[in-house]
Symmetry: C2
Subunit: 342 residues, 2 copies
């Protein structure tokens, strides 16, 4: 192992000079800098992370807590992980993983063992027990998701309320007679993630505002069979409009393809006989058959916003007040499952 002492010796300077050359925390004469950098280069010196963390009280690591709980969504967490990891690397930080099933201890472990300088906590529930723990840690925590009580933490998320509203707005203003929302399956409801109710609220508000017939049905799960059950109910519920132009809103990404397939099997062609709007990443929407009109989840934007706050915090730059909730605006893209306006 090559240490900064070796570099110092080779460059004919003191160890601290090597350190200062690397950190840039004090001015160095061009000549000295050159010699040190050359020595670093020839020896292939890389500073020992543990020693650096110990001395500087900074691990240069971001803790990322991902929702790998049994029965968790899992679809769509990858873009978050990817974007967060890349943002971290841009600021010369690393990412250490923890899983949701470690619960609150996972958070204290990351923080108290000084394993990381900040934590990103994904997919927080409405009354997530980790929130109160998170607020008391010695490292800043950024939430992806919005709990009922943000308790002085920073939150970033998609604006699900707006997404719900936009979905119904779109249907109401394109001459649909009724809207049925194929809700989240029971296990997602049970996890009580806040975005569910926010989306539903937005949809309900919009339906009320437009005075359009509106109903919600809940599938037991996101399987093909689950979609069938939900659709049976949705289609036999003509509502006040009675058999008119129907718009289906499907907020669970996993349920979209099964729903489309079930409709086709019944001889109902999305985009010809009824409309379907999904809530999913654009990438997912492009690959359903037929490509579904969607409100984007924007995981990359959400992640970037979270990392931006995080590094402003770490660099002691100005940040908005804690408890701030940053909401990312979803984008509607019309694809093949939209009925054209009458």
């Amino acid at each position: 192992m090559v240490t900064s002492r070796d570099v110092a010796r080779l460059a004919g300077v003191s160890q601290s000079t090597v350190s200062y050359v690397m950190s840039g925390r004090r001015s160095i004469s061009p000549e000295t800098r050159r010699r040190v950098e050359e020595a670093i280069e020839t020896l292939g010196f890389q500073p020992n992370a543990g020693a650096r963390a110990l001395a500087s009280q900074r691990s240069q690591v971001i803790g990322l807590v991902v929702p790998f709980a049994p029965g968790a969504d899992m679809t769509g967490v990858l873009p978050f992980i990817e974007t967060i990891t890349k943002c971290a690397r841009e600021e010369d930080h690393n990412v250490i993983l923890a899983t949701e099933d470690e619960g609150a201890e996972g958070l204290t472990r990351l923080s108290d063992q000084s394993l990381c300088d900040a934590i990103v906590l994904m997919e927080v529930g409405s009354k997530d027990p980790r929130i109160s723990v998170a607020a008391g840690l010695s490292v800043p925590v950024i939430l992806i998701g919005v709990p009922d009580d943000p308790a002085g933490l920073y939150c970033v998320d998609l604006d699900y309320t707006l997404a719900g509203r936009l979905a119904v707005d779109e249907l109401a203003t394109s001459a649909h007679d009724r809207v049925v929302l194929l809700g989240y399956p029971r296990d997602v409801m049970a996890r009580d993630v806040n975005f569910v109710r926010r989306f539903l609220r937005g949809a309900e508000e919009s339906a009320a505002a437009h005075g359009i017939a509106y109903a919600e049905v809940s599938p037991p799960d996101t399987s093909r069979a689950g979609a069938e059950v939900a659709l049976d109910e949705a289609l036999t519920e003509p509502g006040p409009g009675g058999g008119g132009r129907l718009g289906l809103v499907v907020p669970d990404p996993q349920l979209i393809q099964p729903t489309l397939q079930s409709l086709l099997d019944r001889g109902l062609v999305p985009g010809r006989d009824l409309s379907v709007i999904g809530l999913c990443t654009d990438r997912t929407a492009e690959t359903t058959t037929p490509p579904v009109t969607n409100l984007s989840l924007e995981p990359r934007d959400v992640s970037r916003r979270a990392m931006r706050i995080l590094f402003r915090l770490l660099n002691r730059e100005s940040v908005p007040a804690p408890s701030t909730v940053e909401l990312v605006t979803p984008r509607l893209t019309r694809r093949q499952t939209s009925l054209s306006a009458r």
Copy 2:
């Protein structure tokens, strides 16, 4: 921050005793142990990871290099990440992420900065430039995937050759007249991942052994349009058997659903008019419409095997000789896209 000194003081013992109580590396009297554990409990002591790593030369961290390169597969990496993280936690280790696009420097960084004690490198290419670097690191590296030259490294992967063979075997022995393999899209071929050629070889071998008509067609990409192009070619290629019972093999998980959909659009029902066998996780197979007969990718088994080797290495337990390639056997599950034998 509470340190082991605080614990020692409260328990009325020396700092080293605290350390030994925690590590169990020397015998401690029951009474002393009790007092120390009590102190640890009341103070909520957690050892500083950096200090521990520095003193013990062990970071208790596993580096995981994931394929987040532009255009990489991305489908199916999540179960690997999940399983590897959980295996690591079971052995009281953490996981730090690096992305493929960091290339070989990513590996040297993880190793030379003593950020981790071992590295798991996912989805290595046939002539992956990282292999030679990996072999020279001061930490052990386990590959998921099989390069042309394993160069003294350990490799774990699905047995793709066997998968290819099993797919064609299944079709040949259930009275099909010809097999068309819808190959990997150009960008996957360009990445030259070894499993592609292994799968093809297995398929070709089996076709030759059974004397069944066999052809390969390559889709431009995994979009719906890509599937259409490939199918146009596959279906207008009657082969020696001329329009008999056709079996389609689809090794790219992303291409399966588009292919099924394209077939349905042409009025060809998989399981009634022809067979389709996919290579994908069981979870994916269950959720396609219709559920596709598949050879499982077994990401969890592959990950566990990799982690088992890794920890045997770290614990200096007996391990097979380096360059060992552990292959996991794929499992065939017949679902709705299999023609019954005539």
